[in-house]
Amino acid sequence: MNKEKRKYLGLLPLLLLILVCGCLLTSGTVVIILKVNNQDIHASQHFYKFIVNLENNEDWRNNKDKLNSIEDMVFTFKLANPGSDSITGQVYVSEDSTLSDTTAVKSQATLILDGITVPPHDTLYVNMEHYYDLLHNFDTLRDLVKGGIFTTYGIVPSPIEGGLFDAVVIVTVDAGL
């Protein structure tokens, strides 16, 4: 083989790499961030409640038909405690948006966050790191997210209007390219 031909032979692996990069890459992860409007968070005498509708997010709509799996699902939010005693709370999720009291939520929805504690006259910010410390039933939550719409119930002793605010839903999906 002459020197000229050998020079071009050396470029073959590079061409092969470029070709294969295009063939192997069939999926990727996408981070979907959905802010929940504070006026969409309702406080009843039993719990806070808001509906997560991922259909409102363009990234979800663009990827839902190519969905391989839900990699991660995170809630971040702030919870105020204007009272003089510490409060504890839990967060549940369900496909059912009609649960009407704490007993129904505890028996029919899935507990995902437990151990939320807010000192008196303080506001707790549950960020991603804190969320992971509180998380339960992650696999159930991921299955629920695949449907695109679900309801979140936040249980505290005495929900007040505006006590739960700045909620953000962060979903990481693996989808086909």
Binding site: P13, L17, L25, G28, V31, I33, E71, D72, I170
Partner: protein, 186 residues
Amino acid sequence: MKKSISVFGTILFLLLIVSTASAGKFGIGGFAGVNIPIAQKDMGNGTVYGAKGRIMVLPFLGMEPNFVFSKYGDKDIKDDEGNLLGTRKGGDITSFGLDAVVGIFSGFSKVRFYGILGLNSNMVKREKIPDQTRLGVSIGTGIEFLPIDILGIEVRARVHSISLKGGGGRDNLELTGGLNYYFGPK
């Protein structure tokens, strides 16, 4: 899992013995570099390092048993206004496998170009996701300079693709530099 590792290790060992005896030329090497997630937007660039052997089976074909540690960088997740919502840990992969390297490895050249094609077993770990051991494929290209016959300085680009349970996967570009030391006759 332990059984499959043992079988794989035994095959590699036998391959090493047979090839070394027949071809008479083999090398060992170490490498390190950067691990770039290609299509994962929730991971940052990380590091990759490892060790490998190279057994020349034919003048144009070598086999490389390898052991590779790759790490992803953490990724800050921000909302549209740029407010930090938190940091997602990247996770890591421990891999062992066998790459075939195809190129011109005869003694006349001090510079060698080659292609890489391999199979590997990968332990994929990430926070809040169950650990998975999955099969992966690797493909890439490299260039090796030999200032002296027994020592090679190598730069390579390798795409490492791993499928995960339940769909999806990890696709990484590994850019590494390393040194190879050769034994046996010229």
